[in-house]
């Protein structure tokens, strides 16, 4: 983009034939033509910059929008939803006057290129979304996926990503209370770095991203604007990686968590003094996004003087300033009479703050540079009227063959010895092994409200010291299930996260998601996406948990090879008194182990089929969401009424994985008896959904089984907490020492 002469609106009108580099900015020909049509003239360079970043896949959701609508259309009635989809993050009523906001986002592409900074700035971005809603961030979670655990590049990517998430989150003082680590060759070259955050506020403190009230000032505060990441996330997260074109790789940015910590504190102080009319974080598409969204969500227009933006590099052109994705910046709309106080608070925290414009009573977004008008647009056309694609989608022709390749036909262990051997292989496999080497790089304790953190089924944070009110969150996703059947795979992810929240005693309330897929230009991928969204929307309606927001990451693909479709689902729950929470660890010898739910021969996509046979085929476990609801009710009642002392949901790896984890955490073994009607193999390894294992004190047994019986939930006594082995009667026994070694050494020996 040439800088001389300045491409003003006037100049653009006078020179209709000048060709702008729309293709280089990632626009398609028809998209460019649409811009010309909207403006009634060719855009200026600055306008083109804004449209190109805002109409990128990353910012406009142009491929996914038609499907995502279902989350609104099918949304269940929920009194809990205070702010729904469309804002920076959804807001949920958790009672006692508190509201909670939460969201998950992806930072996949940058994290492959520069693992530390890519992941770090991912945390930075999601946390800014939370503060932009008016909430104090109270915790983060990080669902992660990497290539094969023993691939050399995983040794480059994983430690950097983990250090980056820790480095940023720890420095912000946010406890990390959950997440996932999954290894699969399909993520080689396309690791998934999703990050989620939760924030808490009082109902009356909810803030929205809108600029209203003519004369109100627009204040940019936080870091200076630099030349890093120009068009980074937005344009480049919208394309497939292609090794042949290194220039397409995004310039990643360096995060400054210290600056962000100051942003949090000064923003919350300004909120507390009611100084802010509207607020928006600067993420992808930087100022282009913040100004056009604030203006289009408000009642009036906006005028911005770009010369007033504090720069780190004085040679930046206006186009670059509009596109820069420099981190740690926010934009607030403040009444004129409160501007001085706002600036004072920023100064107290050593945060640079500058009035860069004001709200007007017109309906245009006008941006000036050196006194000349370089942007004159209807902000809605930039922020909301991006292209919408009905991408073709089709069930891939290989889907039938994949589903026909039934995992039930795989050879099964024939003896107790063989079972034992496979149990050890399972619990030591990278996906099932302890993730402690990773999670101990995260601060779990900061803020002094952490009730549960990894490796519990869900993280739990106390939000009121007096009453003990708390919130819980779990994130889950299973790309293997989703590959076999994206509709049910998405529902299984939802069901698992929902179950994890209920297992700790919290009532599931709402959902956020991060949908990670390959290229939308491939009809097979688009079908996976459409199916997953349909499945998730249907599932949320049935469970009564609305989707409050989320994120879509497409183009996770190298050449022809797309990742497994990977919808990651976060479920948020509430618990009236955190003293009632149920932990995973076995607490006392002699307590009775009950298996809740039905166990079927279900091995498609299972951990067993992957670890023992390197196999992926067949159908994933059946989904029965009514059963999930019933199970959740039982788990919540049992925890509230003190009927169970520990509980663990069953998911990948099946019952044996869950029992081993509870045993190792509690330092107490278990004696298991294969129940009638099941063979030992199915009992141990099946991944039937809708199940949990609970430890019931003997004094509570009758009350508990009566409750299950009355409500119609199958509860089978399968053993007792006992000794220092995990024993399956008549089959084998493994000492806790053996199990611990198997479970805990894998990840350190691969990565340390």
């Amino acid at each position: 983009m040439s800088r001389t002469p300045l491409d003003t609106v006037e100049h653009a009108t006078a020179t209709p034939d000048v060709e702008l580099p729309w293709a280089e900015l990632g626009l398609k020909k028809d998209e460019y033509e649409r811009v010309v049509e909207i403006l009634g003239r060719r855009p200026t360079g600055a306008e083109l910059a804004m449209y190109s970043v805002m109409w990128s896949e990353h910012c406009s959701y142009k491929s996914s929008k038609v499907h995502l609508r279902q989350f609104g259309e099918k949304a269940p009635e929920s009194d809990a939803l205070l702010v729904g989809i469309g804002e920076n993050a959804g807001v949920v009523d958790v009672g006692q006057g508190y509201a909670v906001t939460f969201k998950v986002e992806s930072h996949n592409h940058p994290s492959y290129v520069e693992p530390y900074q890519g992941a770090a700035t991912g945390v930075g971005g999601i946390v800014r979304d939370i503060i932009a809603m008016g909430a104090r961030p109270v915790a983060v979670v990080d669902p992660l996926r990497f290539g094969a655990a023993d691939h050399p590049d995983t040794k480059r990517v994983l430690p950097g990503v983990v250090a980056g998430i820790g480095g940023y989150g720890n420095c912000l003082g946010l406890p990390n209370i959950g997440g996932e680590v999954v290894f699969d060759a399909c993520y080689q070259g396309n690791p998934l770095v999703n990050a989620g955050a939760i924030g808490v506020m009082r109902h009356e403190d909810i803030h929205l991203a809108k600029a209203s009230g003519a004369g109100n000032k627009v204040i940019l505060y936080g870091a200076r604007t630099g030349g890093d990441g120009i068009g980074g996330a937005s344009i480049l997260a919208s394309e497939t990686f292609d090794d042949a074109k290194p220039s397409k790789r995004p310039a990643v940015q360096v995060g400054d968590p210290f600056q962000e910590k100051l942003l949090i504190e000064c923003t919350l102080e300004a909120f507390a003094e009611k100084l802010v009319v509207g607020i928006q974080d600067l993420g992808a598409a930087g100022l282009s996004c913040a100004t056009s969204e604030l203006a289009s969500n408000g009642s009036g227009g906006m005028r911005v003087t770009l010369d007033d933006v504090p720069l780190r590099d004085s040679t930046l052109s206006p186009e670059e300033i509009l596109m820069s994705e420099s981190q740690e910046r926010m934009c607030a709309v403040v009444e004129p009479g409160k501007v001085d106080r706002f600036l004072e608070i920023c100064d107290k925290w050593d945060v640079i703050a500058t009035v860069i414009g004001e709200v007007t009573d017109g309906d245009r977004l006008e941006i000036f540079w050196h006194g000349e008008k370089i942007v004159d647009v209807d902000p809605r056309t930039v922020a909301h009227d991006g292209p919408v694609y009905e991408r073709p989608y089709a069930r891939p022709d290989w889907q039938d063959a994949l589903q026909a390749d039934d995992a039930g036909k795989l050879p099964r262990p024939a003896s107790g010895e063989e079972l034992k051997d496979q149990v050890l292989k399972l619990v030591s496999s990278p996906n099932q092994a302890s993730k402690q080497w990773i999670t101990q790089q995260y601060d779990h304790f900061v803020q002094g409200n952490t009730v549960l953190a990894q490796p519990e089924d869900s993280g739990m944070i106390r939000i009121d010291e007096e009453t003990g009110l708390g919130v819980a969150i779990a994130t889950d996703g299973n790309g293997r299930y989703a590959k076999l059947d994206p509709y049910h795979g998405a529902q299984l992810a939802l069901a698992e996260a929902y179950r994890n929240v209920a297992t700790t005693g919290a009532k599931p309330l709402a959902v956020s998601d991060c949908l990670n897929f390959g290229s939308p230009e491939d009809p097979a991928v688009m079908w996976q996406f459409a199916e997953a969204v349909r499945g998730l929307a249907d599932g949320c309606r049935q469970l009564g948990t609305p989707v409050t927001g989320g994120n879509v990451s497409l183009y996770n693909q190298t050449g022809e090879a797309a990742i497994h479709p990977t919808p990651v689902v976060a479920v948020l729950g509430v618990i009236d008194d955190v003293a009632r929470r149920t932990p995973v660890a076995f607490q006392e010898e002699g307590q009775l182990l009950y298996l809740l739910g039905d166990t079927r021969e279900e091995f498609g996509g299972s951990a067993w089929s992957q670890v023992i046979h390197d196999h992926l085929g067949g159908l994933p476990p059946q989904v029965d969401l009514e059963r999930e609801k019933l199970l959740a009710e039982i788990l919540i009642s049992a925890s509230r009424d003190g009927m169970i002392d520990s509980a663990h949901d069953l998911s990948d790896g099946g019952l044996v994985q869950a029992v081993v984890e509870s045993a190792l955490l509690g330092g107490k073994g278990a004696r298991l008896i294969v129940p009638d009607g099941l063979d030992a193999f199915t009992f141990l390894f099946s991944e039937s959904a809708g199940r949990a294992i609970v430890a019931v004190p003997r004094s509570e047994e009758l009350r508990f089984t009566d409750m299950c019986g009355a409500r119609g939930l199958p509860a089978t006594r399968v053993g007792v907490v006992d000794g220092d082995t995990v024993e399956v009667q008549g089959e084998f026994a493994l000492t806790l020492t053996e199990l611990r070694e198997a479970h805990e050494n894998t990840i350190p020996s691969l990565l340390a």
């Binding site: 480095g167 100051l262 779990h444 304790f445 002094g448 009730v451 106390r462």
Partner: protein
Amino acid sequence: MTARIGVVTFPGSLDDRDTQRAIRVAGAEPVALWHKDKDLKQVDAVVLCGGFSYGDYLRAGAIARFSPVMDTLIDQAKTGLPVLGICNGFQILTEAHLLPGGMLGNDHLHFICRDQKLRVENADTAWTSDYTAGQEISIPLKNMDGRYVADRRTLDELEAEGRVAFRYVDVNPNGSLNDIAGVTNAAGNVVGLMPHPEHAVEPLIGTGRTDGLPFFTSILKKLVNA
């Protein structure tokens, strides 16, 4: 009369609210102090809490050490004001040379967060009198730069004078010399340690134990009885 204990907030401090809570749980009155104020508001003792003051850029604690509040604090600590430095606070105290030695990155190069066992070696300081010498406690440890180093002569001196206040037990989580988790000055009013007693004052929260509470009850008793 109860004791008023100041908690300094630097930009980037993280555990200031938790530390105030711990002081309250122990029965004393927390007083918020601000890094730009030289005024210590006549508090009876000060805690420098955990966090990443100034992002821990340059070196942990290096920039905070030059804050206005530290000018006053350094003077008063030298004349007996009880000061406890936790984690980043400990790092600031070494940078300010109120405590000997220095803090470096963990030898394994990772941030580490764990429930850490310690032995209280010196129960005669202002902040440890509610423990008994040799007592083992478990409190959270969480840091990037927790490796305590000092030259041989300083280490020998610390050992000889009983100024190693806390030592890691079972696991040395960061490569600290002599397993040192915390030290005291000769007078026993200035104490620093890496693990976080303020995160272990309530059952249910964090590790679920209250092994850290005696830090705050020790100082309270000392001040109230004084």
